[in-house]
Subunit: 485 residues, 2 copies
């Protein structure tokens, strides 16, 4: 495409592309926007190296004009302007997350990398946020997904954006090193099975497990947390754990807790907790009943909701596969659409009205109510006067004429900020923990009914009256000549 | 865990770990093994850098013995032996894909990276192979998934292993450059909408599309392939394409074909093809009816089966989201289990008998019938005499006593080969296109009923009589003392 643009002299035509999605993931009604920092960093380094150009020369048709490769080798993102909603914000369908303005060919070349950087990051951050909502604010959430991610880098992305979405830590040590995410983990079943016995007693299995726990406790006297389901939680794992924890107590150490990786997590966690309470009472060790119970067996969002219904005493979830693969919906489906070229707004029509694009360059506002919750997002043409707090503004559904309402916002926020212009990063990029806080705050400002699991209320995204009229005029211009269809 | 092993002096105990999965993905009965080359390369470079060690020192408890970090800084994979089934082979549940032998702590440290490298690679290669089986050997299959993958590197893994699994090309140009995969692509809707009109005629949309096609044809006269559904395939896209293709023909160029990205792909492809046939007949241009029709709208395996049932003239599929995210099942679920330590076989028990591990170090054989198809995989203890062709061998289900059969193989293949030993790669690693051929050949030697979509026959994985007895003795040893449960 870049070559065809170049060949017809269109490569530098000023163009505007919107990056957005059409539907919230996971049958939910919100999405956490993530991946922006990586997009900005892509622009900083965007170019074709000599070897890139040589490779392209080798695979493009021999009729390709050699001057095109010279053109490619000079390309950079210096003439691109990127505005975006801040990373970590809650976002909704049809609202441009990123708007790219600049030469047509360069903007087009950015399509796939930008989509790649935003799609999975936002998807997995949203998934993490949903797990957080399901588990509640008090539970510890650990990401254990590296082994099931799309390669090593997929695993790093997962750890990074799960933390952004509200997880507390990861078992991916490299992610800890690179991004400063707290690293957490326990031991595996193999650790237990690698110990055979303290001596050759009859009940060898329990002995092997006890030996494993003793060994682990010696290594981590202040952080003793044991996986207790290798053989039998009730008959073996729990008594062995308590024995070692009591011995550590005699030496002045408080143990951390246990992990359950199989079985009925509701029943077992309650059983374990009640045993902890009994020990606490009998030996007057109040901390014993506060030890954590980690659950980690193939847990998804529904498992947590179901556990909440049944009742449990789990204090920490270790979540892998379902979190990082986003099993419920493994792709977000962001698109990158041309909305203006050479000063002319473009519309992409479709028989599916949900797929009709909102043409032209736009401003995006979020209107808030008096209680601080977000009421509606409003798209305007850039030439319009922004909505003002305390002043009535008409918010219209972009397609359906009958859906419209006047809103008097208590607060108005312009969502887009310019992150890249004239070859430079124009805003400081927040740290990962700042982004994590941003995501949490932004979700907190969203009404509860948009966040609930079952039949959540859709959050409204509207257009101004002028933009509504503009969409429908442009749509009419494009009506086919001939019979009704 | 490594610290606890080190602390108790177990870190160098000789151990054997098997990497395997328990269930074929996608409700199928086969899996393509992929990712081995990356595993071997991991062993080549496996170490803790100074900064890794410093980071670990900063996050481990302050009570950690400093000598442990010295130990870590000296670690390498030199004492590890890795044997594996060749990459690209068809593999089945419970059969060790990789067996790692060596010091307990090092082998354990390799668990997560090896699982990460095998899980997604094998999953997506298998998915690609299933798309290939659905589409048939003649169709062109292109991977278009970069924008929906888990970050840039997830996208590279996807392109690489989809090619291994039987795809013909990718739109990921970097994957083309790095792995030599053929790169293929067309233009997007934005290319069409970026052209407004040849002149300001009434029917502006068709004019804009025509202008876009002319421009694309001028850039790629020998490779003209147009996306014809931006406005209306039948009223606009197809006539515009034919006009440009005929004009190119006058100049001595043969066009390539069209792409459909929406609508009823069966109906539209047939409509387009019949139009091509009419033009071919009318103007005596036989090549016109042989032009390719690419389909690319959110296609999954079922879409292809459904299209095959309805009838279509699609000659190429461009597949993205469903391929790279493996939507139907986004994780393979490989595990890495300790099967022997210090010369003693270990068994991991579970209430779910499917999860019971096959203990001890094993040899793996594939027995073939006289027609060259694979009959059964057979696991033996390493001390046993391998099965011989023409000689009867008893193959038993590892758990169920009643399931057993004598097999007389026409051919026997020892599946495992040693890829890494004494700090060196011990076998040449095949090229990606060799692996692709291997996958295709290996699948061809699998009976059709194992490969069919609906209710495929499970391929049998069996154990020798001696191994059967060994499993059950070890299991009995581990029986709990006390009441029946």
């Amino acid at each position: 495409m870049a070559y065809a643009y170049w060949k017809s002299g269109k490569m530098d035509e000023p163009s505007v592309f919107d990056l957005y999605f059409r539907k919230n993931p996971f049958q939910g009604e919100f999405t956490i926007f993530a991946g922006l920092e990586e997009c900005v960093k892509l622009l900083q380094t965007f170019h074709f190296s000599e070897s890139d150009v040589a490779y392209l020369q080798s695979v493009m048709p021999p009729t390709t004009d050699p001057a095109f490769f010279t053109y490619l080798s000079t390309l950079s993102a210096k003439d691109i302007t990127l505005s975006a909603i801040p990373e970590g914000d809650v976002v909704f369908p049809k609202v441009p997350l990123i708007t790219v303005t600049g030469p047509l060919a360069v903007a087009q070349l950015l399509e796939t990398p930008l989509l790649n950087l935003v799609n999975y990051a936002s998807l997995v951050a949203t998934n993490a946020a949903r797990f957080r909502l399901a588990a509640g604010p008090e539970k510890l959430l650990l990401e254990f997904g590296l082994r099931r991610a799309q390669g090593p880098d997929g695993g790093l992305s997962a750890s990074r954006y799960c933390y952004l979405g509200g997880f507390d830590g990861t078992s991916n040590v490299l992610a800890g090193k690179m991004f400063g995410i707290p690293v957490k983990g326990t031991h595996a079943h193999a650790f237990v099975t690698s110990y055979i016995s303290l001596s050759e007693m009859k009940d060898r299995i329990m002995e092997g497990e006890l030996a494993a726990f003793v060994s682990y406790a010696m290594a981590f006297p202040q952080n003793f947390l044991a996986l207790i389901d290798t053989y039998d939680v009730i008959k073996s794992g729990l008594p062995n754990f308590c024995a070692v924890a009591m011995a550590l107590n005699d030496l002045g150490y408080r143990s951390q807790g246990v992990r359950l990786d199989s079985g009925d997590l509701s029943y077992l966690s309650n059983f374990v907790h009640s045993k902890f309470c009994k020990v606490a009472a009998k030996y007057n060790l109040p901390w014993f009943e506060k030890m954590i119970i980690v659950a980690s067996n193939d847990i998804n969002e529904e498992t947590i909701h179901s556990l909440n219904q049944q009742g449990h005493t789990i204090s920490c979830y270790g979540i892998g596969t379902h979190l990082v693969t986003c099993q419920k919906q493994p792709a977000l489906g962001c698109v990158f659409k041309l909305v203006e070229v050479n000063g002319k707004a473009r519309i992409k029509l479709s028989e599916d009205v949900e797929k009709v694009t909102v043409p032209g360059k736009k401003n995006v506002f979020r209107l808030y109510g008096t209680d601080g919750t977000a009421l509606v997002d409003l798209l305007q043409q850039v030439s319009e006067t922004p909505p003002k707090k305390g002043e009535r503004v008409l918010c219209r559904h972009p397609i359906q004429e009958s859906k419209r309402a006047y809103v008097i916002p208590a607060e108005v926020r312009c969502l887009h900020e310019v992150y890249w212009q004239n070859g430079e990063v124009t805003k400081p990029l927040p740290s990962l923990s700042e982004l994590r806080k941003k995501a949490s705050d932004s979700l907190a400002a969203l009404r509860q009914d948009h966040k609930r699991t079952l039949n959540p209320t859709p959050y409204k995204v509207s257009v101004s009256s002028a933009l509504y009229t503009f969409i429908h005029e442009l749509w009419l211009e494009s009506a086919p000549i001939g019979e009704l269809s």
